[in-house]
Subunit: 219 residues, 2 copies
């Protein structure tokens, strides 16, 4: 039983990786930087995206793919920023996959996009295994979570290129050792670029914006 499940899983992932490679080629040809945002539910992906688009939406041509099990609440928030957005509802699935990503790409005029944010389903486990064809995964982790999350869910931090520690405005009110959190994350993945920001107060967002806007240069 277990053995056959593992085989099927491998087939699914192999098929996903094929589709992801096609998506990656398509994105590269269109000159699009695609950033896959991954985190627990509630780490602040949408709030960070909304503030980012409001503040640097005029510095590049952005688009957003929103992944949720149900509702288009997040897509509505993005739409209010004036940036094109496509909502994917996964219903039972716990992550986006490359097939869903391909369908979402079909909804955009790719030649009019520089940077595409993909907000994955809130889940610190499953999205780590699914390549969508993105340039990089960026993991978010809020200061209201335990600082040992990188140790307890290491794969997500291993496959990400950057870590954004969010909600730093709440640091005075929580028991969160931000130095330990950074150390744990770098222990799992020494190449992680780490940002510590607040989408509420705006703290340290400029550094993150530089990273996003300069990321398109090495496509």
């Amino acid at each position: 039983m277990t053995r056959s499940v593992i085989t099927i899983k491998k087939d699914i992932l192999a098929k996903n990786d094929e589709l992801a490679d096609e998506n990656r080629k398509r994105l590269k040809e269109a000159g699009i930087l695609a950033i896959n945002l991954v985190s627990s539910p509630g780490a602040g992906k949408t709030s960070l995206l909304v503030r980012t688009l409001n503040e640097i939406g005029n510095k590049a041509r952005f688009a957003v793919i929103e992944g949720d099990q149900e509702t288009d609440n997040d897509a509505k928030k993005i739409e209010a920023t004036g940036v094109p957005v496509t909502q994917i509802n996964t219903i039972s699935a716990c992550h986006l996959d490359a097939g869903m990503m391909r369908k979402a790409l079909d909804t955009f005029d790719l030649d009019s996009i520089d940077t595409l944010f993909i907000e994955n389903v809130g889940n610190l486990v499953c999205p780590a295994s699914y390549d969508l064809g993105e340039k990089m995964k960026v993991a978010l982790m809020s200061v209201t979570e335990g600082e040992d999350k990188p140790l307890k869910y290491p794969k997500m931090f291993r496959v990400s290129s950057a870590l954004v520690i969010t909600k730093t405005d709440l640091l005075p009110y929580v028991d969160f050792d931000i130095t330990a959190a950074t150390d744990y994350a770098l222990k799992i993945n020494p190449d992680l670029k780490v940002f510590k920001v607040s989408a509420k107060s705006g703290d340290a967002l400029l550094e993150l914006y530089d990273f996003i806007l300069s990321g398109a240069h090495d496509l």
Copy 2:
């Protein structure tokens, strides 16, 4: 491809449900109330458990099963309360299943347990589909998450018997509409028993303790 995956998934769930029924029978025979705690990573399951065990650990004979992808950090915190604990590391799996639960049950002297807490892997999606044989699922959601989580991840709230809104001590510092959160949750599942607590300040924990301690009566 999609069709065969769905079939396999059904087989997995059917097999899981069989094992879950065996676990449930075993728990009932031993007179154990099993509570499956489910939430996003960082919603505060471990902190709530530790305070609960420290405060009412002498009112019943408790035991804990801890689920994480990796590390035994949480099991160590539980162990410090003096309550028997077994850690399950799921490595790649995004949820506990009934087979893992059976193995964990084998590690305990079931005749010396009244109430068994199972802290599932932090994940608001996958654990909703897997019956472990527990009496009830209790979902946690922190006030630092968006209040629309019940709408975006409805299945978890549909299959849970109670919702514990955690970290209420942070309410003054976050934009969280606790009335809306409660309304959304009850819209998804009108039978949910809702608690609003802080494991840090201790706010409203007595009501939750009553619920836990009285739950064993109707086994």
